[in-house]
């Protein structure tokens, strides 16, 4: 049987080799983003398709200023400009604001105008957190029609100490921004967890929180706002 199949193995190898050098294939795909957490919100998502060889962040390395602005305050404008400069196909803020726990949002992409846009990044800040974000880091966009599921963890941008008190979303300023639904579920009057900016992007060690709504160290609620990875499920459907 081996002999019978040998020519086919060679043909397959040839076909694979040809596929490797053939031009990238345009893909029409839908992206569904599901917030899996019990009590955390996500700020506006950046969903893009850009060429291979680019990353919005690299674990173990310092965050860019634009990643910092996203991770500390939910501001994706700098990252949008970064990927736009790569001729990316992109969608900004498909959820039209905060994505609530258990909620989902969908956006569609077509790389026909730029078939070299073969990599998919998705980022958004997680609230409440000082500088936590969900990051799907430039995964290869599948070209075969079908449904593909990605479980996405939370990262810490490493740019701000995790003091866990209601405060500012401006890069470099302490505390976390608290738009209405986040403020409503947060405590207040926390003295601040003693923490320093870590200096590099890494998997988030989770928020600490406490059970003292009107004081304690943290304004984050330990029974509501903690998470266990994954924090987001991304479902890519290639049409």
């Amino acid at each position: 049987m081996k002999n019978v199949l040998a020519p086919f193995s060679q043909a397959l190898a040839l076909a694979l080799a040809l596929a490797a050098v053939s031009p990238a294939q345009a893909v029409q795909f839908d992206v569904e983003i599901i917030n899996l957490t019990r009590g955390s919100y996500f700020t506006p998502f950046l969903v893009a398709a850009h060429p291979e060889g680019n990353n919005l962040f690299v674990s173990g390395e310092p965050a860019s200023a634009n990643l910092q602005a996203m991770a500390e305050g939910g501001d994706i404008s700098g990252l949008v400009a970064d990927v736009a400069a790569l001729n990316a196909t992109l969608s900004e803020n498909p959820a039209g604001g905060l994505l609530a726990p258990g909620a989902s949002t969908t956006t569609s992409h077509d790389t026909d105008p730029a078939p070299d846009n073969t990599r998919l990044p998705i980022v958004a800040m997680i609230l409440p957190s000082n500088d936590g974000f969900m990051g799907l880091n430039a995964v290869e966009i599948p070209t075969e029609p079908g449904t593909y599921v990605y479980n996405v963890p939370a990262y810490d941008s490493g740019t701000e100490g995790n003091d866990e008190i209601v405060g500012s979303g401006v890069p470099g300023e302490p505390g976390y921004p608290a738009p209405p639904p986040v403020l409503a579920s947060s405590g207040s009057g926390g003295s601040g967890v003693n923490a320093m900016a870590e200096g590099f992007v890494h998997i988030h060690r989770n928020v600490l929180g406490d059970d003292d709504i009107a004081g304690g160290d943290s304004d984050i609620v330990n029974t509501v706002h903690r998470w266990l990875n994954p924090v987001v499920r991304v479902v890519v459907t290639v049409n």
Partner: protein
């Protein structure tokens, strides 16, 4: 591979036939093989250190039913399983092609294999769901949700690492008297829905008294990280 060889042999037969030139040869149809009921074994391993899993509920069903969905309220039957570890309601509520129940709680580190046989060899549209409670919690479950097993060939298997879900039917107070497992021996099912949102999500984990939750009946040993179980599905027939 097998199919290719078959075509190859058919080709040879056809060639011999052509050489004879004596008209068509009548080949009697082979006796139909007796159909064997499609059978699956499902092996669940509890990966936690101190969270026994309530008796497993495993069901093979079609796409007309679903045990739960992220962002949607849990059914009453799922609530009972998630708060009390009682799987009887869920097994009754989901119309299945085949179902099985664990004999007893599945302790930390332990494994159990359930067998599910379909009525015949037709696996078209077959989805597998398995649900069990982490009993030292208010309402945490784990399992697999409508996994497509229709294309699994005899002898093939799939292994999944499963996350913990929060059914959203009971607030995660961890308070003494609210947890049915051996850590507390407290209340199981209570129809009140008092969680921060009446919807299924992933579970945030337990905080425990050792990590600063006043009044928690749990200690550090009851914490876990995902995955909480490993489940291997094998088609045996």
């Amino acid at each position: 591979m097998r199919r290719f060889l078959f075509i190859f042999l058919v080709g040879l037969v056809a060639a011999c036939d052509g050489d004879g030139g004596n008209g068509p040869t009548v080949i009697p149809a082979p006796e139909p093989e007796p159909t064997q009921a499609a059978t699956f074994t499902v092996t669940t391993t509890n990966l936690t250190v101190a969270q026994p899993l309530s008796p497993l509920a495993a069901i093979i069903h079609d796409s007309s039913v679903r045990a739960f969905s992220i962002g949607e309220a849990a059914s009453d039957a799922l609530e009972v399983l998630a708060e009390a570890g009682d799987n009887s309601g869920l097994l009754e509520a989901i119309e299945g092609l085949s179902e099985a129940s664990g004999d007893a709680p599945l302790g930390p580190g332990a494994s159990e294999t359930l067998t599910l046989a379909l009525p015949d060899d037709n696996t078209s549209g077959a989805l597998l769901t398995l649900v069990t409670m982490l009993v030292n919690t208010n309402d945490a479950i784990t399992g697999i949700n409508s996994l497509d097993v229709s294309a699994l060939a005899v002898g093939d298997s799939m292994t999944l690492s499963t996350n913990a879900y929060d059914t959203g039917t009971e607030a995660n107070t961890e308070a003494t008297g609210t947890i049915p497992g051996p850590a507390d021996g407290g209340e199981g099912f209570n129809p009140a829905r008092d969680d921060v949102a009446d919807q299924v999500t992933l579970h945030p984990g337990v905080v425990t008294a050792d990590d600063g939750l006043t009044g928690s009946a749990l200690n550090q040993s009851h914490r876990w990280d995902n995955p909480v179980a490993r489940i291997t599905v094998t088609r045996t027939q």
